[in-house]
Symmetry: C2
Subunit: 233 residues, 2 copies
């Protein structure tokens, strides 16, 4: 019955935490050897969520996620007392969000799923970010869908409906896959099938993350290989 | 300087003529052994172009290309006196446009180009048609862009600008690749680089098609392998 799978990218398919931590250390560790980079990245991601929520109430046009991360970075560095980053370094660090590494199960899991299902992203990241991440990591999507195409961010219902229209499928023929329950709950409320994937390391070894399986979802999976197995691939 | 290539799909990357002719013969030849299927397909494609042109003047919402082909088919079958096609057969025949076969050079050419360039479609076909064609033929796009995402058809400038925005690139960093000069001329007028690919068999061995190379384009190529070679891949 399910013909297509839609995947969240930042956190579900990719390990932004270690990628961005590594890049922050590479650029900033010489200057700030004692900085708490994991905390910087967690605060940066939180500022991103706050900015997206603020943007969703406005009607004054689209805001690129790159600009959201770039603006949030200044505040986060100030907050941590991390001075001395040049404009070029701040831009370079922000671009780490366009070079996110996939979790180790992702390429193999998607490759197995691709034989039976149409695979597409449904990401709040900018289209170019999803394209850059996917090309670099060789993620075998059949299509890239992103909030930028809908003009609204997840969990706005319009973005899930956009994906269904583009796929030419009914909601019940599509499964939304994410490690964030707000995302799959929003899709599920519109009649999409849902798959929760646990990503216990989304915010690092000390990070707080909800990985509890729940009967409210059609599938609960440990990773993309487990998802493939449960979907018969 | 060029970082991404945008490809037309119907005619440039795929051989719609032979695909749709074969499907029409398969479905209709038993009933109409003497029908001129090549002419039916040429008229069907012409009716599609006329409908797109008519649609581009309207502001009453999007028209799916599937519905354009489906509506045009009735008129073309009537015109040729080809009676007896059931509704299900007409639907099945229309879906041939979502199963178009690539020209024989396309997969190999794209595979070579993909190492150096971001590859995306820019098609007037529906998103789901491009996805279905590409998945079936294993066309290695990095992204699928289509008129449906812009709400207008090529050669409207808005669709080329949309692709540049989604790619996060300037027009001059993108090359539009097509076998139709109106398409690459429209992109070129906006500052895109242009590649003309000759497809002498676009309308079959007796079809009329403009395959003349021209200095107005940055590249003139015999096929996608020739394009890859000229672009250093």
């Amino acid at each position: 019955m399910v013909k297509a799978l839609l995947f969240d990218v930042q956190g579900t398919a990719t390990d932004f935490f270690s990628t961005v931590c590594d890049e922050a250390r590479r650029i900033g560790a010489g200057r700030h050897p004692d900085a708490n980079w994991p905390d910087v990245v967690r605060r940066w991601r939180a500022a991103y969520f706050a900015a997206l929520e603020a943007a969703s109430g406005r009607a004054d046009g689209w805001v690129s996620v790159h600009s959201v991360y770039r603006d949030a970075l200044d505040a986060v560095l100030d907050e941590h007392g991390l001075a001395g980053f040049s404009v070029a370094e701040r831009e370079e660090l922000t671009l780490a969000w366009q070079r996110l590494r996939p979790w180790p199960d992702v390429v193999a899991g998607l490759t197995r799923l691709k034989d039976r299902y149409t695979l597409a992203t449904l990401s709040n990241a900018d289209v170019c970010a999803v394209v850059n991440i996917s090309k670099r990591a060789e993620l075998p999507w059949d299509a890239v869908f992103a909030a930028e195409m809908a003009g609204v961010f997840k969990p706005d219902p319009a973005i899930y409906r956009m994906a269904a229209t583009y796929l030419g499928l009914d909601a019940g023929e599509i499964m939304m896959v994410a490690s964030h329950k707000y995302d799959i709950r929003a899709a599920g409320a519109l009649g999409f099938r849902t798959a929760f994937v646990a990503r216990p390391l989304e915010f690092g070894v000390d990070g707080e993350v909800d990985v509890a399986y729940s009967d409210e979802f059609d599938v609960n999976a440990a990773d993309f290989l487990d998802l493939a197995q449960q979907l018969g691939c």
